[in-house]
Subunit: 155 residues, 2 copies
Amino acid sequence: MTEREFLEEVGLRPTEIRLDVLKLLFDEGRPLSHGEVQERLKEGTDRVTLYRTLSSLERVGLVHRVLGIDGSWRFCAHRPDHPGCPGNHPHFLCLDCGLMVCLPDQPLPRVDVPPGYFVAGKQLVVYGRCPACEAKASKETNSSGGKDPEEEDDD
Amino acid sequence: MTEREFLEEVGLRPTEIRLDVLKLLFDEGRPLSHGEVQERLKEGTDRVTLYRTLSSLERVGLVHRVLGIDGSWRFCAHRPDHPGCPGNHPHFLCLDCGLMVCLPDQPLPRVDVPPGYFVAGKQLVVYGRCPACEAKASKETNSSGGKDPEEEDDD
DNA sequence: CGACGAGGCGCAATTCTGTTGCAATTTATG
DNA sequence: CATAAATTGCAACAGAATTGCGCCTCGTCG
């Protein structure tokens, strides 16, 4: 199934930017920030149009978004015809480089809320350092003098 | 143990704003946004000073922060000498009014990350509507025409 | 007591993310 | 081709948070 067909199915006009963004997110398979998406699009793409594109795609359910603990949104798309991965899993965010990846196959836990609260959804973000940045960091620690992985804070 | 003693213990000067903020957070017992804290301080308090105060308090471990999915930070303090509540629990965020509350007694789940990833911490935010906003919303739905709780998105 | 210096504070300006308004353009459709 | 609705591009705006920098304050030491 092509990107164009996905768009037509949900009633969105298959414009260039939508096709590009959708393909990009499908191919990437991990949540990308607005900036990361823009970098990968042809130069001169309008920021606002991209925001709106991502919102449209989200509205029709082709894309979902996760907020990293760095405060910016990541957008992610999994082919609807693909098994698994409809969302609902934790995400890992690298605090050094901003890389976010899905942690599929691990359902989000049930969370009990006090009576009277209405739950619309939930988000579990695990943060730390990705392998690349971890390697870089420990190299710096060992040789010159970089940061060390002592942080173990939560909540 | 007084707020002043907590500050001295960690080597922070017990300035007025720090004492006020700490007391405020202790008393409130739930995560407050920067704005909510400022509202509760005496008028004319400098925004930046408050940011720095919150950061200092966080740095020494007296305060921790949670990012709501509205993109702004909440700051929360639990008396160190108090049992339980050292963090490490989910939080609920009301999307209508921005209220955030701790959901203690529910530990965060263990999350497995692929080899090579370093985990510094994790955050589970459940969002929806608090009882007050829920009541308001359903009243509007029934009479005139308000929003309805159809959203059930995740990830 | 008085000077010094680190730690704090207050103000202005900036950055970063994301949103809104609006006019111009494109597209589906008859 | 005419039309209306969807989409785009640009400018301006909004809110959270940060940075730079000079001034003030408090503890310390001579």
